[in-house]
């Protein structure tokens, strides 16, 4: 007799019952001296507090990264991370990039042609010619 694992009755799907945002952390890196960080510094000064307050489920960290361009790095639940360089951008553009990272799922970008993805079994089953009424010729 072979050992069998306990079969799961259901599979957890995010969003069916509870919803977890996939983005768990956003890192903002800036440089005090360089001009490409000017927009980033003003974003950190004026917008980030409100953005963080509006998204309490995301951890936000700010750290200096001297002599480098400013970067936003998003860390996701699936273990991947996504980085966007925001050099020479205004603070409104940086906010758009931060929202992009917040809304992303963390998966690698794929070309998808079918709109619906499902793990459920077919509701109506497979058609069979041997069942049902049939047509008498």
């Amino acid at each position: 007799m072979t050992v069998q694992a306990i079969r799961k009755a259901t599979v957890g799907q995010n969003g069916v019952g509870a919803f977890l945002l996939q983005c768990k952390r956003l890192d903002f890196h800036y440089c005090d001296w360089a001009g490409s960080s000017r927009g980033m510094n003003s974003f950190l000064r004026h917008t980030l507090a409100k953005f963080a307050a509006a998204n309490p489920q995301v951890e936000m960290t700010v750290s200096p990264r001297p002599r480098r361009h400013p970067v936003i790095i998003g860390h996701y639940i699936n273990g991947r991370e996504k980085a966007i360089c925001v050099r020479n951008l205004q603070k409104e553009q940086i906010l758009e990039k931060a929202e992009l990272l917040r809304d992303a799922s963390g998966e690698k970008q794929k070309r998808v042609t079918k709109p619906v993805r499902s793990i459920n079994e077919s509701v109506r089953g497979v058609w069979s010619p041997y069942h049902g009424g049939g047509i008498h010729v």
Binding site: V16, F19, L21, E99, D103, A104, S105, R111, V112
Partner: protein, 216 residues
């Protein structure tokens, strides 16, 4: 009809604010600070009377949010809110509801999506004014069925029959597309780049209402 609306609004106020989690946990708060124009209607009492999920900001489907969400009486949705069900539907709808799994072909912006509960739908556009975690109620559908029964709408189903809700999961993108444009007898090749964004929904709930709640 009017008495139904009034009763639903009374029922709605009965949900005390203490039953809801604190406001900073509600997901749709993220939308407010960005100061962009909102296309999504706030939930009105005529619509979300059945709202029980505490963390859901429920909105009508954007295809008809402006018209039907504000005034459900004068909504142009196929005379569904006042008409009574036909006897064959009354007879067979409990049988359909009793079968284990269901599908629905819900319409968003005129396009049908044949879904079951738990499916992921990638819309062919980026929906403005939504943030991840929002709950949309899909109230247009052209067919609803189980293994042995199918209820078809002409062209759409009565929206009191079912409750279909979708959760906004986020926005996804695609790899950059490159299209080379050439003209004859010309060395220049123009490369056009495009990259689109798509809103991802997950069908969180698909429920068939029983006849008493439809008729009342």
């Amino acid at each position: 009809m009017l008495s139904r609306t009034i009763r639903k609004s009374i029922l709605d106020t009965r949900i005390s604010p203490s039953a809801l989690p604190p406001t900073f946990l509600l997901p749709y708060r993220a939308r407010y600070f960005n100061n962009t124009a909102q296309h999504v209607e706030p939930p009105t009492d005529g619509f979300n009377a059945s709202q029980v999920a505490p963390t859901s900001s429920e909105n009508a489907q954007p295809a008809e949010s402006t018209s039907s969400a504000t005034s459900p009486i004068t909504a142009p949705t196929s005379a569904s809110s006042t008409a009574t069900l036909s006897p064959s539907v009354k007879e067979l709808l409990p049988l359909l509801a009793a079968q284990p799994s269901h599908y629905i072909s819900a319409h968003i912006h005129g396009r049908p999506y044949l879904v079951t509960a738990g499916d992921i739908v990638r819309l062919p556009f980026r929906m403005p004014g939504v943030v991840p975690g929002d709950v949309l109620r899909l109230n247009r559908a052209s067919s609803l069925g189980s293994r042995d029964y199918t209820l078809k709408g002409a062209p759409y189903l009565d929206e009191r029959i079912f409750e279909c809700r979708a959760r906004v999961m986020g926005t996804e993108s695609e790899p950059m597309r490159f299209k080379e444009k050439t003209k004859r007898r010309n060395r220049k090749v123009n490369v056009v780049k495009s990259k689109h964004k798509f809103t991802i929904l997950r069908i969180s709930e698909l429920k068939i209402n029983d006849l008493e709640s439809i008729e009342s």
